[in-house]
């Protein structure tokens, strides 16, 4: 099985500047393991020490959020597109005196 992995701008230096990489694998997890071989260092940006997706990383298999599909063990199909999407957040943090707002 071969899928196209789309790399977001901030991670492209790890992919030699490429915006997409063709990677083999039967599941999303296997694809990420093989992506690491193509782009050393990228897996630790996506997964924690237990091998699970980091909180601030989203993966979309075609148009579906992988978390909604059941997670990293979801099977992929030939020709699928796996997109890495950062969870972007922030804000003014306007709060009265006291401990910092989180």
């Amino acid at each position: 099985m071969s899928v196209k992995v789309r790399i977001p701008t901030p991670l492209r230096p790890l992919a030699g500047g490429r915006d997409q990489v063709q990677v083999a694998g039967a599941t999303v997890r296997a694809v990420l393991e093989n992506l690491e071989k193509e782009c050393p260092g990228i897996r630790s940006r996506l997964c924690d020490e237990r091998g699970e997706l980091r909180r601030f990383v989203n993966l979309f298999l075609n148009d579906e959020d992988v978390r909604h599909l059941g997670g990293l063990d979801f099977p992929v199909q030939e020709g699928d597109v796996l997109s890495i999407v950062p969870a972007i957040a922030g804000g003014a943090q306007r709060c009265a005196a006291g401990p910092p707002c989180r």
Binding site: D19, A87, R94
Partner: protein, 149 residues
């Protein structure tokens, strides 16, 4: 340095003022130049703020909007070169929340610009841009080119 034209500035101004008193957010599409030290912005695209509870001082960008905007840019040879959001009735400097969340995305996001629009009583009063360097935000120069017709 961040370079944008007057049309893009006006588009973000309208989004920020129209969204007041809620925070608005979006992505800057364009091109990196000069070894990624310069971000040349072509377009500013609004994204949804999923934070319903504290939309006055927080934003969580809708990841499906990120995907849609990035793909639209890719088709035209444009990259995501930065992120923008508004600070309603708050200065246009990054908060600790902004810093933590930017750093948590990935340290590699150092190549992005983080543009903040201060909106006071519904009017844009300042626009400043920041870059993440070794865990801290530093202000960068913003060059606004004349509006093209």
């Amino acid at each position: 340095m961040l370079i944008l034209d007057g049309n893009t500035e006006r588009s973000m101004k309208e989004q920020a003022e129209g969204g007041y008193p809620r925070e608005v957010c979006g992505l800057l599409l364009g091109r990196f130049e000069d070894r990624r030290q310069v971000r040349q912005v072509s377009e500013a695209h609004a994204a949804g703020n999923l934070n319903q509870d504290r939309s006055g001082d927080r934003y969580d960008m809708d990841p499906t909007d990120y995907l849609r905007i990035e793909n639209a840019g890719r088709a035209r040879g444009l990259e995501v070169v930065g992120v923008y959001h508004s600070h309603p009735d708050h200065p246009s400097r990054p908060s600790e929340t902004d810093r933590q969340r930017a750093e948590e995305i990935w340290q590699a996001a150092e190549s992005w610009s983080y543009l903040i629009l201060e909106v006071a009583s519904g009017r844009l009063v300042s626009l400043r841009s920041w870059v993440l360097r070794e865990g801290a935000f530093r202000e960068e120069e913003v060059r606004i080119l004349p509006i093209s017709h």
